[in-house]
Symmetry: C2
Subunit: 66 residues, 2 copies
DNA sequence: CTCTGATGTAAGATATAAATTACAAAAGAA
DNA sequence: TTCTTTTGTAATTTATATCTTACATCAGAG
């Protein structure tokens, strides 16, 4: 469940708390997603992508190989 | 939760049952996802994309506007 | 018409994403 | 050093995705 959420969030100079509020979840949920320990819902992934100005593919598609 | 799963599955000449087995869920789950009534997990979306030879964006990103 | 494969859908059970609360541990600013 | 912000993480609870079983429906083949 590796992804580019953490690196993208930091590039956007956002805290976990700020991102969490924008997408409507808690800071802990963001932390676990960044750590790769959650299997988030599609809707949350879409909200994350929009908040970070990325697409689903850029955040979650074949992250290991890029 | 609109998506392109159903049209892509039909283009690939697959039944719900065949797709379900490939991605490791039940036929009912595929049916509900195609109907837009589920908010599937990211891992399931990735499995669907790989089984259908598409990316996440092609199946789930801004489906309403394309 | 019947028969079969494919699909729609519903009820109840289970698994797990996500919330809530809480506390500890970093890291930076003063 | 202390103070504050940010992050890591754990326990418990809640919400919901998914499974299981089941039955109805629909389309096509015979």
């Amino acid at each position: 469940m590796k992804n580019n959420v953490k690196i993208t969030r930091i590039k956007n100079s956002m805290t976990q708390e700020q991102l969490a509020r924008q997408v409507g979840v808690t800071r802990q949920t963001i932390g676990l997603i960044e750590k790769g320990e959650y299997n988030p819902s599609l809707q949350l992934c879409i909200n994350l992508a929009k908040s970070l100005n990325k697409t689903l593919d850029e955040l979650f598609w074949e992250v290991d190989t890029q």
